[in-house]
């Protein structure tokens, strides 16, 4: 029984919500909204459980003087201080009508001078962690990792002035770089006597280099010729390959959600419901 009733509720509500998406007629138009609000009310009440659990664990740690109880003491001091300041609207005008962030309220001061700088500090750690993680991760260990590394370098360059300056002062430098890279790959193919890849890569390399040289001739003669710039390349990476990959992942996720939701609605997946006996 402990499982049957929740499963039944999940099924009925799930099916109704599936239909709701296609029916604009009342009462279906309000259903989603009402259920969202119901969930929020439940979640708000459940906070008592979470807050209670937090207090229980940390107060126990303090009273038993377990290792690291000092951290628990700081946690509890912050928890109860904010609770009191918020509940009694210390400093600001009290009463239901007045906002917590009203003029002079301690709550706003605690937000501005404690919460805000602390949150910003934790978030800014990202700058350091991104640097150390990318230092480790972006190594040309294999073919895929090399492509990733090159793309990352181009995007990073494109996000700085150096990127734009590079192709502005040295037009065609990207083409020459890719041409050189392709020529190197062709050379590797030649050494290992793989003729078909050699022909393919060699043709592309020759085309890229020839086009660049032709461009130089035109530019030298005062004409107009398009040579790739770093900002354009960055934009292309973001809008074409990046976007394509992102879309594929998103489509996969959507299908995954459909199948997961159906498993939940049909009661095939029920491990999240916990124990059957109690």
């Amino acid at each position: 029984m402990r499982r049957q009733i929740p499963l039944l509720i999940t099924f009925v509500v799930g099916v109704i919500m599936l239909f709701e998406a296609f029916i604009p007629h009342p009462p279906f138009d309000q259903l989603n909204e009402s259920l969202s609000i119901t969930f929020d009310v439940l979640a708000a009440f459940a906070f008592v459980l979470g807050g209670g659990n937090l207090a229980k664990i940390h107060l126990a740690k303090i009273s038993r003087s377990q290792p690291g109880w000092g951290y628990s003491a700081v946690t509890m001091a912050g928890f109860f201080a904010m609770l009191a300041i918020g509940l009694f609207k210390v400093g600001g005008p009290s009463g239901v009508k007045h906002a917590l962030e009203a003029e002079g309220s301690w709550f706003q001061a605690a937000y501005d001078y404690c919460f805000l700088p602390l949150s910003a500090t934790t978030f800014s750690l990202l700058a350091f962690f991104v640097a150390s993680a990318s230092y480790r991760a972006f190594r040309a260990k294999n073919r895929e990792a090399t492509v990733l590394l090159i793309a990352a370098l181009i995007i990073l360059l494109g996000r700085t002035l150096v990127g734009a300056a590079l192709t502005e002062t040295l037009p065609g430098s990207l083409e020459l770089l890719f041409g050189a890279l392709l020529a190197y790959l062709a050379w590797e193919q030649f050494r290992s006597k793989r003729w078909i890849p050699l022909a393919l890569i060699g043709t592309v390399a020759a085309f890229v280099l020839a086009r660049t040289l032709y461009g130089y001739l035109i530019l030298a003669g005062g004409g107009d010729f398009y040579l790739l710039t770093v900002p354009d390349l960055v934009n292309w990476i973001m809008v074409v390959p990046q976007l394509a990959g992102q879309r594929a992942i998103m489509i996969g996720i959507c299908l995954g959600i459909i199948s997961m939701s159906l498993r939940l609605i049909l009661g095939v997946e029920r491990s999240y419901l916990g124990s059957d006996t109690d």
């Binding site: 998406a21 979640a43 979470g50 962690f129 996720i253 498993r263 916990g274 124990s275």
Partner: protein, 399 residues
């Protein structure tokens, strides 16, 4: 720089010319807006009426103002008490206005007033009423495609129940879970499981919790230590049920302790600070991150990497995948997170649902292929019928 200067010049020198002409022209009342209609806006819950009219040929019309009848007892603070309420004003050339706050089933009267510099003309009064529809026709194709995918998922669940064997490819990250838990046991250090920072109404949290069930069963069997810090109270209560059930199934109910799953805070970075502190103090051997993550993904995973923990992550947040891939040993990407519980349970019914999902992928791949080929050919050949195929895919099927 150049554009604003040009604009300023235009305003200063050229723009006043037609106005001056208009002032000198003899006053002439515009012809009233013709062809006025009040139509119900389709596919909604009955709260909108569209008022349409024909643009007046009179060159001096400066604007159209749309009015509706005032309902009995309806007041408009600060406005004079007239039987008409202004809905809004649009410029010349416009031919419609949507009154989007209509009460369902009430018949309103509307009129459109064309205004010139010194006179105005009322259209004839029309009435209209908004109605609710039982089916949103704009979502027809979503229903068809979504319904097909759902049908295939159900079909394959049925087939699997009847004992048909289904192939599922290996997911390296999940194969590694046992090994990671075993390592924690050997080292005598805890396993930390983070089920994301979203609440129970997020399907990723549910997927994370089903995985928690599997992981905690393994942990109970190995008799390792488990630590699940959560950032939502409802996730805490659900997580406890899941872990308790897993310990029961593993035959070790006595090892279960409620405080294995404990609440930290709802606040994102407070939660990060709390979990990172725990990681640095307790130095767990294994960290699992399964659920919905935001900026905290790298903050957690990089700290876990620093303490040398084996890390397996899984999320369907595409923006956080690169961070997990960079800092963790294994990453379940997007759909793999949802497939994980089916994969680990080995339950044929659940595996069947994965097969149904693949049919969805085939449909999408077919549509993408058809669309790109048709769009390319339409561009080359200029064929109208191919373009209509592209438009159908773009505008009708996938709005």
């Amino acid at each position: 720089m150049k554009l604003p200067c040009a604009l300023a010049l235009w305003f200063a020198v050229l723009a006043p010319v037609p106005l001056l002409e208009a002032q000198h022209a003899p006053a002439e009342a515009p012809s009233p807006p013709s062809g006025v209609q009040a139509l119900d806006v389709p596919n909604d819950s009955g709260h909108a009426i569209e008022i349409r009219w024909k643009d007046s040929p009179h060159p001096g019309v400066l604007s159209y103002e749309v009015f509706r009848s005032r309902l009995p007892g309806e007041t408009d603070p600060g406005a004079p008490e007239t039987p008409w309420m202004s809905l809004g004003t649009v410029g010349p050339g416009e031919e419609s206005w949507t009154f989007s706050s209509a009460e369902r089933g009430i018949r309103y009267s509307f009129k459109v007033v064309a205004t010139t510099a010194d006179s105005s003309a009322d259209s004839k009064i029309v009435t209209g009423e908004s109605r609710a529809q039982w089916f949103d026709r704009e979502k027809f194709w979503i229903l068809v495609i979504g319904g097909t995918i759902c049908l295939f998922v159900i079909l394959f669940i049925q087939l699997a129940t009847r004992g048909r064997k289904l192939f599922v490819r290996k997911i390296a990250g999940l194969e590694a879970v046992d090994e990671a838990v075993g390592r924690a046991t050997e080292m005598g250090r805890p396993v930390v499981f983070v089920p994301g920072i979203m609440d129970m109404d997020n399907v990723q949290t549910l997927a994370g919790l089903t995985l928690l069930g599997y992981v905690s069963r393994t942990i109970a069997e190995y008799d390792a230590r488990l630590d699940v810090p959560v950032s939502r109270s409802l996730v805490m209560t659900t997580g406890r049920e899941v872990v308790k059930q897993a310990y029961l199934e593993a035959g070790r109910p006595e090892s279960y302790n409620e405080d294995m799953v404990h609440y930290l805070t709802d606040e994102q970075f407070g939660y990060v600070a709390g979990v990172n502190g725990m990681l640095l103090r307790d130095e767990p051997a294994t960290c699992l991150y399964m659920g919905a993550f935001f900026a905290e993904s790298l903050l957690l995973a990089e700290t876990g990497n620093r303490i040398g923990a084996i890390q397996i992550a899984g999320t369907a947040m595409p923006s956080q995948l690169p961070f997990f891939v960079a800092a963790c040993d294994y990453t379940l990407m997007g759909e793999e997170l949802f497939a994980a519980s089916a994969y680990l349970s080995g339950d044929p019914k659940q595996l069947g649902s994965l097969k149904g999902q693949d049919v969805g992928k085939l449909i999408v791949m077919g549509a993408i292929l058809l669309g790109s080929v048709a769009a390319t050919l339409a561009l080359w050949t200029g064929s109208g019928s191919l373009q209509s195929v592209v438009d159908f895919l773009k505008l009708e099927m996938f709005v």
